[in-house]
Amino acid sequence: MTTDQGGTVATVTYRDAVRMALQDALRRDPRVFLMGEDVGRYGGCYAVSKGLLDEFGPERIRDTPLSEGGFVGAGIGAALGGMRPIVEVMTVNFSMLCLDQILNTAATLRHMSGGQFSVPLVIRMATGAGRQLAAQHSHSLENWYAHIPGIRVLAPATVEDARGMLWSGLVDPDPVIIFENVMLYNMSGELAEDAGGVAIDRAALRRRGRDLSLITYGGSLWKTLGAARQLAGEGIEADVIDLRSLRPLDDATIMESVARTRRAVIVDESWRSGSLAAEITARIVEQCFWSLDAPVARVCTAEVPIPYPKHLEDAALPQPAAIVAAARAVMGR
């Protein structure tokens, strides 16, 4: 296949795209290394880094002991010391153990030192539910991270972003957290073979409608697009916004859409109370109140630790049917 520009296009999984991004970064910049639990010999908990150990060796594909606080802190130190570490925290569920280092050190060092030091660190974490991993392995804590000044938070939802955001994150002189939703790893998409970094400042309008704005990110993008297709069948045409960057939020893209559609539904896999969806609702109200024809609605995860059985897990998470129902309600149907 070829792109419009005549480049070659291949079908790759999200997992492959992340691996390609890692490979590219490791080849391009000798200061880059990957560190985390089982990134090397095991090939990564979600098989993302499979094969990299052979190409780059154990110094640059560095298996760590189970010490999230220790090795994330070591990543911060290594970044200070001139390296460009990519630290993998197996999943966001375990990141509680390194949150002190992220909040109190990585995010504050530049400020506390009066601008003397920066921390060019990228932390990758898997996030999200859907694999029946139950209450300790199914969190979506994106909003906790999006609350922290001094870091950038990214949520690639497409293979292109999975491929491109890592490099852009490495170029950023400040700490960047990248959330990879576990349900996306097996998803396939088309990717130009010469695909590289992508802009990370803007949200993307993944579908253009006119009747309402569906605003989402990460794993929920695909459910939301599915809901939008179903709504189209009912004559409701939705904008679908993929936030891409969760901190900072791209207010301009959100407000442009909402000002046009006058209605918004936010889809967010976090627990409802204190979710990122609340922040987006607040911003819409602050910036677009007079354009709104209906209250902003949220489709979030039920406020329960995620249960193990499939039917209960499904019931807890945002699903296309709930998105459709919320959209209809906002449309007054």
Partner: protein
Amino acid sequence: MTGKIQAKAHLTRERVCELLRSLLRIRRFEEKCAELYTTEKIRGFLHLYIGEEAIAAGIIPVLEPQDAVVATYREHGHALARGIAMGPLMAEMFGKQEGCSRGRGGSMHVFDAATRFYGGNAIVGGGLPLAVGLALADRMQGRNNVTACFFGEGAVAEGEFHESMNLAALWRLPVLFVCENNLYAMGTALAISESETDIHRKAESYRMPAAVVDGMDVIAVEAAGRKAIELVRGGAGPAFLECRTYRFRAHSMFDAQLYRSKDEVEAWREKCPIEHLKTWALGAGLLHAEETAQIEGEVAREVAAAVAFAEAGTWEPVGDLARDVHSPGALA
């Protein structure tokens, strides 16, 4: 092997049969689980204990009913050894409401109040502080109980291990820390995760008594466990037991095992705790071939009944989704 010689004196034919049954119940239960995973009756992460059975089977029966057990996501063996019935355990693996955690937990979150079985923790190292607290509660309430806390050697690198070891030793709490050293944390070999690979030596730096035992030898484990539990119950404070073992299967059902050789796995399979016990007991005249067959038959029937129980189990209604987030009546 000294453990075995010492322990031999106490060993009756009956006890040998019990131990064999205990090992086999775990083994056959888990073999069935693996099978049921491929047919998607069991989902999520499934971590098998196969190869390591001698640890739970050796130590847990030495505990008293009022003692407490804290385990990890690799806890089916501990649950069975502790006396959780196989039916509810299997139903839990299925996610049915007849499961021992009412289906909410699954393989990684097995709980049972009746036997003081406190999980079932899927955060590596997360159970250790809990064990410290359970022991503290026992001590403050004047109960002479022991809390046995099981964890892998991978957990030793975590900060929560360190903090818990210090707290337990500092406060002289009745915890038995049992490190199931199976040489790997997922794909990370011990030498890649610890600068000191003699794990039990770490206990010294907390001034905690420690021992190491062949974790493939249920009789040795039992002897070492008994000694340690007596020590702990005697009020000497916590103790540490490193059991050297090996998991025969993959870490979980998603694991290509690129990090170790087939030869290494084969070499360890030679040390199978079940074969080991059988061979020795048959040789020592403490077991007859017919008994083995009989136990195998009984265990097979128990497993089949457990599967039938789980199959017959029911799904919790979706309307109950918000149940058990809070205690009844605690929150609107």
